[in-house]
């Protein structure tokens, strides 16, 4: 990691033109990677489907049809219908909205909190660092899943609380990662150069250091969205996250579970949807890591 930041550091001294080219370079690396491109396309398609769900979906996600319950996949209902006769395909399309927005919002929140905390700790060190790191130790000695469950139990179910629970449980990871990167680059020449011209701390941190320490965090965040989607689904599955009748994928799994013996399609399709969303993000994350980390290129 040190080597990577060092290498990036050289091209970075706050030169907009050069930063552009770094970005362009990363992009070039990324689109040469077939897996990453596949992931990008897949997640892009899912995002478009989610946004256009009201237009595309053949039925309303909550439209019940008690005469046509438990239909298998057919021409009218591509993925069949559930116990209340709701169209599973439509519900999955709407579900994409929940999963993707939960994932992105949770990661965005924890990213902001984690990166700032980590940057402060890494830059100033000393007592502040010591205390914050011990607090994070405490947070991290509870596995993330359990933490998310405990927090969402406190806050109660619902979309917003689910996002908060997920982001709280992943703040320590980002903070630690950021802190490590900051420590790595704290004594680099370009930071000293910025200090030597009396730049304010805030400017040094936000303008010079965070951009150079972001690479591993970006990769982590991409994978983090994937993890958040998985954990959100698990939360809903045990009844703590988004509540039925909202068409959240995990909640759909929890509903369908009771009928799995005779109507496995109720469980099959939401699970495949989760898998595809998570898979595409992981493929993209892998590609980003390869593009941003010169060490792993060969």
């Amino acid at each position: 990691m040190a080597r990577k930041t060092a290498k990036k550091g050289k091209g970075a001294p706050a030169n907009a033109g050069k930063k552009e080219s770094m970005l362009a370079l990363t992009w070039k690396q990324l689109i040469r990677n077939k897996m990453a491109v596949a992931g990008l396309i897949l997640i892009g398609v899912m995002a478009i489907l989610a946004i256009l769900a009201p237009v595309i979906a053949p039925y309303a996600y909550d439209k019940q049809d008690l005469y046509h319950t438990f239909l298998g996949p057919c021409r009218e209902h591509w993925f069949g219908t559930d116990n209340l006769g709701r169209d599973i395909f439509s519900r999955i399309l709407y579900g994409a909205r929940y999963s993707l927005s939960i994932g992105i919002a949770a990661v965005a929140m924890s990213l902001v909190a984690g990166v700032s905390l980590g940057a402060l700790c890494g830059f100033y060190g000393g007592k502040l660092d010591m205390i914050l790191m011990r607090v994070l130790d405490v947070f991290q000695s509870i596995p993330g899943m359990l933490m998310a469950i405990a927090v969402s139990a406190t806050l109660g179910p619902g979309l917003r609380n689910c996002i908060i629970a997920l982001s709280i449980s992943s703040v320590p990871g980002y903070a630690r990662m950021m802190r490590a990167s900051m420590l790595n680059i704290r004594d680099m020449e370009y930071v000293e150069a910025a200090r030597s011209v009396n730049a304010r701390d805030g400017r040094i941190i936000f303008r010079h250091m965070i951009p150079n320490a972001m690479a591993p965090t970006i990769v982590q965040a991409t994978m983090g969205v994937a993890t958040a989607i998985l954990v959100a689904a698990s939360l809903s599955f045990i009844g703590l996250g988004v509540q039925p009748p909202a068409p959240e994928w995990g909640a759909m799994l929890a509903d369908g579970r009771n009928y799995i013996r005779d109507f496995p399609h109720l469980v099959m399709f939401p699970g495949i949807a989760i898998m595809l969303a998570v898979l595409s993000l992981n493929m993209l994350g892998d590609g980003l890591r390869d593009a941003l980390d010169p060490r792993l290129k060969n």
Partner: protein, 324 residues
């Protein structure tokens, strides 16, 4: 080494206290009145008020926290469940064997599949073997574990009828839950192993081993793997620690009477002593597993061993000319 272990154990105390405080605070702010939960819906207001007084629920935050800490750390009593009145510590003790067995077997499955998969991928980097193994691993980490569990039980229990779908009994009851946890675990171990191996496989000392005339499998499994082991140990240790804390989802799917189901039902029922007790247990177990992981590092890597024993190692280091 003993000094190091003692030091680490002492360092765990503030973390455990911190966890106690954290979970206590979370539970304190959780809505819901335990007295009502215990007495049910048809209790009179007077009964509820009496029980609230009895449980000390009317005291302030600090008083209740101090009382809880004293109860747990001085009297070694985690309290009684609000739901069934059973002692939380004993309950955890009763449930531990199930969780332990599931955790141990799934970790063994994960390592037995994940490690060779990662090594084969690294050794054959950029070939179809690598691509296939890594694609499989990627799909593996992308599937929700509980869904894999559902699908496995659909196939092997409900359709084929080979294995029991839920509950616990003989060894056959462990197969599906352990497989569903182990499969997603093996995917991340395979990925970790591959990237660790790729870092060491082109190192000079691996070439040295080949130049000695060593057989290829020993070059890979002995010279290279031993050097790639530390991140893998971390990964395996973390997985084991988390599973020992109770595979909440998998235990729920397969109705295993372990610590995971205890926690989930505790959270659903607002059973504060049960939640606090089991989270505390998780934190302690996690701390101990991480300590064991750190000790394993020392076992694998002499440089880390030297750090742990730094007092003893120093004169020797000075003896090595220059030292490095």
């Amino acid at each position: 080494m003993i000094r190091y272990i003692v030091k680490r154990l002492l360092l765990m105390i503030p973390v455990i206290l911190g966890v106690t405080w954290l979970i206590f605070t979370i539970m304190y702010f959780t809505p819901g009145d335990p007295a009502r939960i215990i007495l049910g819906t048809d209790a009179s207001e007077a009964e509820i008020a009496a029980l609230q007084e009895d449980l000390g629920l009317n005291d302030g935050y600090v008083v209740r926290f101090v009382r809880y800490v004293k109860q747990v750390f001085i009297d070694f009593d985690m309290g009684e469940s609000y739901i069934n009145g059973r002692n939380v510590g004993e309950e955890i003790g009763l449930r531990f064997p199930y969780t332990f067995r599931v955790a141990a077997i799934s970790v063994v499955i994960a390592v037995l599949i994940g490690l060779p998969l990662g090594i084969v991928a690294a050794v054959n980097q950029f070939t179809w073997k690598d691509n296939a193994a890594m694609m499989a691993a990627l799909v593996g980490i992308s599937m929700p574990g509980f869904w894999v569990g559902l699908m496995l039980s659909l196939a092997f229990a409900l359709r084929l009828g080979w294995l029991p779908a839920t509950g616990i009994g003989g060894p056959q009851y462990y197969i599906l839950p352990c497989l569903s946890i182990g499969l997603s675990g093996c995917a991340s171990i395979a990925r970790q192993t591959r990237s660790g191996m790729l870092e060491v496989i082109r190192q000079d000392y691996v070439v040295t081993a080949r130049a000695k005339g060593q057989v290829e499998w020993k070059v890979i499994y002995w010279h290279a793997l031993m050097n790639a082991l530390i991140p893998i140990i971390t990964q395996v240790g973390t997985m084991f620690g988390i599973q020992l804390g109770g595979a909440m989802i998998a235990e729920t799917v397969f109705s295993i009477p372990g610590i995971g189901t205890y926690m989930v039902s505790g959270i659903k029922n607002r059973d504060y002593p049960a939640i606090q007790g089991s989270v505390l247990y998780v934190a302690v177990i996690f701390g101990i597993i991480m300590l064991v992981v750190d000790l394993l590092y020392a076992f694998v890597d002499p440089r880390i061993r030297a750090q742990y024993q730094s007092r003893k190692a120093r004169p020797k280091k000075a003896a090595a000319e220059g030292g490095k």
